[in-house]
């Protein structure tokens, strides 16, 4: 058997979420460097260098399918990290499943991705979990009586969380006074916000990505809205603060990890990443990094480059100590994993509380 382990990475290098593709690539390259610096992956006592094949799936399902086919059949990868968006992972999953190649998506939170699949895993929690966590937080700690939601209706992630939040918030005795949508790439939300303003909610839930959220928050403030803002893991990127500035202060969002939490695994990752790429860590990077190490650990545990064995090893991962916290797979593709609530304080993401 020739030397070297090949792992495929399907990432949105170009296209509408290229910023996440960048983080994905960074995290993978960091992990590759670390692993190879230590001589490689220890397989049955023999160290083998690892190579990541990073392909651009353009955040399009068709391209993701092609990328998966190429990596599996042409590059003969032992496993695949990716893709980020659920729609791409969904397109890749049947291919990985059919070929019997383990797939770990860092950040596909749509419940469907792993459904009925043996070889498909993810490193993140799923939308319903997060929606519920945020709803609980809004009702509990924030004591919100009324809430409004503004979300991207064309995007599965945003819509998924928004709907769970609506249901859970109502179940917990709150009242949803506005449930407004926009379309991917819209930049002007004043129409929706003006409408929401009329209902004066206590909190406005924005389960959207970090490039939209600052605009939404700025525009809300400029319209004279005084409510609090709350969001989801899509917020996790320094751009949020760079663009949103002081308007973001005092807002909360749920996330997979917290940069200031006292966990060595998180701390070293964040330090190394920041040093190497001179940019802040975000959820895409952290989750990708964890996905890589979940896989590497599983390969080491399997002790051989056999997909089936690797798959079983992933499924049996227990208390993996990752940058985004402890991860356990109870045999299914979805990890048991907690969320944290982050507060934005003086332009920093600060740990607020943990949700399990």
């Amino acid at each position: 058997q020739q030397n070297g382990v090949k792992i495929g990475v399907s990432a949105p290098i170009s296209g509408d979420i290229a910023a996440l593709g960048q983080s994905t690539k960074n995290a993978v390259l960091l992990a590759q460097e670390e692993i190879n610096a230590k001589g490689g992956i220890d397989i049955g006592g023999k160290k083998q260098k690892v190579t990541f094949i990073i392909e651009d799936d353009e955040n399009k399902p068709e391209s993701a399918a092609t990328v998966f086919q190429k990596m599996i059949n042409q590059d003969k990868v032992v496993a695949i990290i990716g893709s980020q968006s659920s729609k791409c992972s969904n397109a890749g999953a049947p291919i990985a499943e059919a070929a019997g190649v383990p797939q770990i998506s860092p950040w596909s939170t749509n419940p469907n991705v792993t459904k009925d699949k043996k070889f498909v895993f993810r490193a993140c929690f799923i939308d319903p979990f997060q929606g519920k966590a945020v709803a609980g937080f809004a009702r509990g700690k924030m004591k919100a009586q009324t809430a409004a939601v503004l979300y991207d209706v064309a995007s599965d992630y945003n819509k998924g969380i928004a709907e769970v939040f609506r249901d859970e918030f109502t179940k917990a005795g709150g009242k949803i006074v506005g449930f407004e949508t926009y379309n991917t790439n819209d930049k002007d939300f004043s129409a929706q916000l003006s409408k929401i303003k009329g209902a004066s909610p206590d909190v406005l839930f924005l389960p959207n990505y970090f490039n939209d959220v600052p605009l939404q928050v700025q525009q809300a403030r400029k319209l004279g809205m005084t409510c609090k803002f709350i969001g989801s893991d899509g917020w996790d990127n320094q751009e949020l603060i760079k663009m949103g500035g002081k308007d973001m202060e005092g807002s909360f969002f749920s996330n997979h990890y917290s940069p200031d939490v006292d966990r060595p695994a998180s701390k070293t990752f964040i330090a190394n990443y920041t040093k190497k790429f001179n940019t802040q860590v975000d959820a895409a990077a952290a989750l990708t990094y964890d996905s890589v190490y979940i896989l590497v650990k599983a390969i080491e545990k399997a002790g051989k480059l056999d997909p089936k064995a690797i798959r079983d090893a992933i499924a049996n991962t227990k208390d993996f100590d990752g940058a985004t916290g402890a991860i356990t797979f109870n045999g299914s593709g979805d990890p048991v994993k907690g969320a944290v609530m982050i507060r934005i304080d003086n332009g920093k993401f600060v740990f607020d509380s943990a949700v399990n």
Binding site: I13, S14, K25, L29, F52, I53, I54, E55, D56, E58, K60, P61, E62, A65, T66, Q69, K70, I72, N73, Q74, S86, K87, N90, A91, A93, P94, A99, N110, N112, K115, D116, V153, A154, S155, D156, K159, G160, N183, T184
Partner: protein, 331 residues
């Protein structure tokens, strides 16, 4: 005119049979692991895209209109076929043809209705209306929870492989070629060349236009149905105007008003994109960045050197009916 009387082996029927046979062989080899499944996949995608592009060629090439909503009809076909496959318990042998037929009919009907409205305008106004319908269709799917909304439909039974795609592509081509080489095809060309003169030789321009539009939509529906049951997952965003522009690029790259061009355009574009992927990937993973930078450059270069696309207004001889071949049609 090297070939005499069209009695060569290179004829549509023979090529069609050969295509299906080769596809079957390749699929079989792929299944047993003797043929790279990545190539198998590329071939399948090419087949589906050829159906899409060739059908749009009816409207944008032969009819000379500028329709911008083809992906919308693909969506209709994909969703209807997917629903039939998902929700109606059918034996696999019946499921595929029935679901495809459902997709074709649904897309055709929607296409007919859209066409009725659309052909009150021409030119860029028509472009906007078709684009508008594309957006409306996508927007509607996003809002229908039964269709999965933005999450799309997963776990669609796998009904498509290279063989079914090859059969469908061949049938599509046979029908399209037959139509183009008939009074209908000639009427489409007339309308493209001079609609007023066409009307004055008695052509009911709107009716004939809508015929082309309906047929194109129906075949887009076929492509959609194949796609849904090949990928096993569909989401509304796969059918937005970005998809439409992809189809347009392949169409005009191949050349308008040429069914041969539609094949070439799809093959050239797909192979180019995959070659770039492989070449860049071989050098370094960082270069994956450059793929979308280099490919448009190549596209522009090709258009600059071949103004009419690769095959504009010309056909391969074998695509022509024997009668035309005998008369010495195009190269």
């Amino acid at each position: 005119m090297a070939d005499q009387q069209g009695k060569t082996l290179v004829r549509f029927r023979n090529i069609a049979i050969a295509t299906i046979l080769v596809a079957t062989l390749v699929q079989f080899l792929g299944n047993v692991g003797l043929f790279n499944n990545y190539y198998l996949h590329i071939l399948t995608v090419i087949g589906i895209n050829i159906i899409l592009v060739a059908s749009l060629n009816l409207v944008n090439g032969y009819l000379g209109e500028f329709a911008l909503g083809h992906a919308g009809f693909m969506a209709v076909g994909a969703y209807v076929a997917a629903l039939i496959a998902l929700k109606i318990p059918l034996p696999a042998l019946v499921r595929l043809p029935l679901s495809l037929l459902g997709g074709v009919v649904a897309a055709g009907v929607i296409g007919y209705l859209v066409g009725r409205v659309t052909f009150k305008t021409v030119g860029d106004y028509l472009a906007i209306i078709t684009l508008g319908f594309n957006m409306i269709i996508v927007n509607a799917i996003q809002n229908i929870d039964y269709l999965g909304g933005p999450r799309g439909l997963t776990a669609i039974p796998k009904g498509t492989n290279l063989v079914t795609v090859a059969v469908c592509t061949v049938i599509t081509y046979w029908i399209l070629r037959n139509l183009v080489d008939s009074v209908y095809g000639r009427m489409w060309l007339c309308i493209r060349e001079n609609a007023i003169a066409g009307e004055l030789i008695g052509i009911d321009v709107n009716k004939v236009k809508n015929l082309a539009f309906t047929i194109a939509a129906a075949f887009a529906g076929l492509a959609g149905g194949l796609y849904a049951q090949y990928q096993q997952f569909i989401t509304p965003k796969s059918f937005d105007y970005l998809k439409t522009t992809d189809i347009l690029v392949m169409l005009y790259l191949g050349g308008m008003g040429s069914l041969s061009g539609s094949i070439l355009g799809v093959v050239a574009y797909t192979v180019l994109m995959e070659l770039l992927r492989n070449v860049l990937g071989m050098v370094a993973p960082q270069l994956a960045d450059l793929r979308m930078l280099i490919s448009p450059l190549i596209l522009v270069l090709i258009m600059l050197t071949r103004q009419y696309g690769l095959m504009g207004n010309r056909e391969w001889r074998w695509l022509l009916p024997d009668r035309k071949q005998a008369e010495g049609g195009d190269a």
